[in-house]
Amino acid sequence: MEVRQISVTINDETRLVEVEPRMLCVHMIREVVGLTGTHLGCDTTSCGACTVLLDGVPVKSCTLLAVQTDGHELTTVEGLGWPSELHPVQEGFKEEHGLQCGFCTPGMMLTVTALLEDNPDPTEDEIRWAISGNLCRCTGYQNIVKAVQWAAKKMAAERTSVSA
């Protein structure tokens, strides 16, 4: 069995991880590193539940080899925030009831975080477009859109207070 040692930075912590080349990134995150906030949904590149940020760009971690992350940075939902210190996007999902079963939520929030980095004040169309690779079967997306708008507003307010 071929094993590679890779160096990958996950949520700002650089780790040396041993992986077989065929191991998928999502399995490394969940089973080797033990961060189970990243969900494995369809396993067929369709649903986006496994979304993580690869060097800041949202990608489906079920369709990426763990070995490909050597020398790169990953952000998972655990890297966004914690209950005591939620990221504005996480707060938005809480405040606007942007989730029901919660399965799509980690991936959804990472996609949205990247969107707001790129475009701090997205229109509803732009939000729906950005999350079109992440499926949610509970909410009908309405409250997810509201959650993103809530987060955008909060982040804008934070920027203003910092610069003031």
């Binding site: 080349p21 998928l24 489906k60 369709t63 070995v67 950005a130």
Partner: protein, 302 residues
Amino acid sequence: MYPARFHYEAPSTVDEVLQLLAMYQGEAKVMSGGMSLIPLMKLRFASPSCVIDVNNIAGLDYMDESGGRLRIGALVRNRTLVRSEVLRARYPLMSSLAPQVADPLVRARGTLVGSLCHADPQGDWGAAMLAMGGEVVARSTAGERTIPVRDLLLGPFQTSLRPDEFAVEARVPGPSGEPFGMYYKLERKVGDFATVGVAVFLDRNGGSITKAGIALTGVGSTNIKCVDAEQALLSGGLTDAGIDAAARLAAEAAKPQTDQRGSAEYKRHLVRTFVVRALQTATGREPIDIRQRRFERVASLV
């Protein structure tokens, strides 16, 4: 789902890729975005002995417009194409198509050149390349050759690339006059493969059409170039009769099959309808339809 075991190589130069390909004699697969290859390997439809990951090769993500053509390196991702100002300004067919490929997460990894080499009959880029007269540059230890996409796509997942060749670049001719292009794609949901896709390309000088390209996705064993429909446009122009003839001939060129996405008859009808819509938009008499406009509105962000 795990792929079958394979040996993994991630070279940092094109030459190393070529040597590996020569050494593995057809047992190695080149991986760029991996958006098709990894799913195929997970389903065990593909089980190469060696995966050559080309993502670590610096300088393959170039887009360069010079000498009357646009060159697109093997690592140019769909996400980059969606955001490209060059495409928006001068390659309207490609800029209309790019945001319709898969979904934003898949576009973040998947590449145009990779899509062409995968030769999925439902791959979108093949249609654009056929309509515009695109080419692929293939390199091997034996040298380099340029393959028109017409000759590249042989059948479902089959290309004329030799096992020892690495497609390093796609090329499309630049417009000489005023270009028009539009890709119509019907999909059941975002990210689905095309039920039907229609690529329409025109190059115009004054009022006359100097180049016409029409090609189809999802209605045959590979993308189909509608040569007769193109001829009808060149001779008939954008008159009602010319448009009608082109649409009819494009529908005749389609070889759709009935499947879960629709009946053969329905798909053929869609081809005709999409050709008419695109060409009417080209005349300027009909406004661009609402769904296409939505792509334009949000395309800059994804």
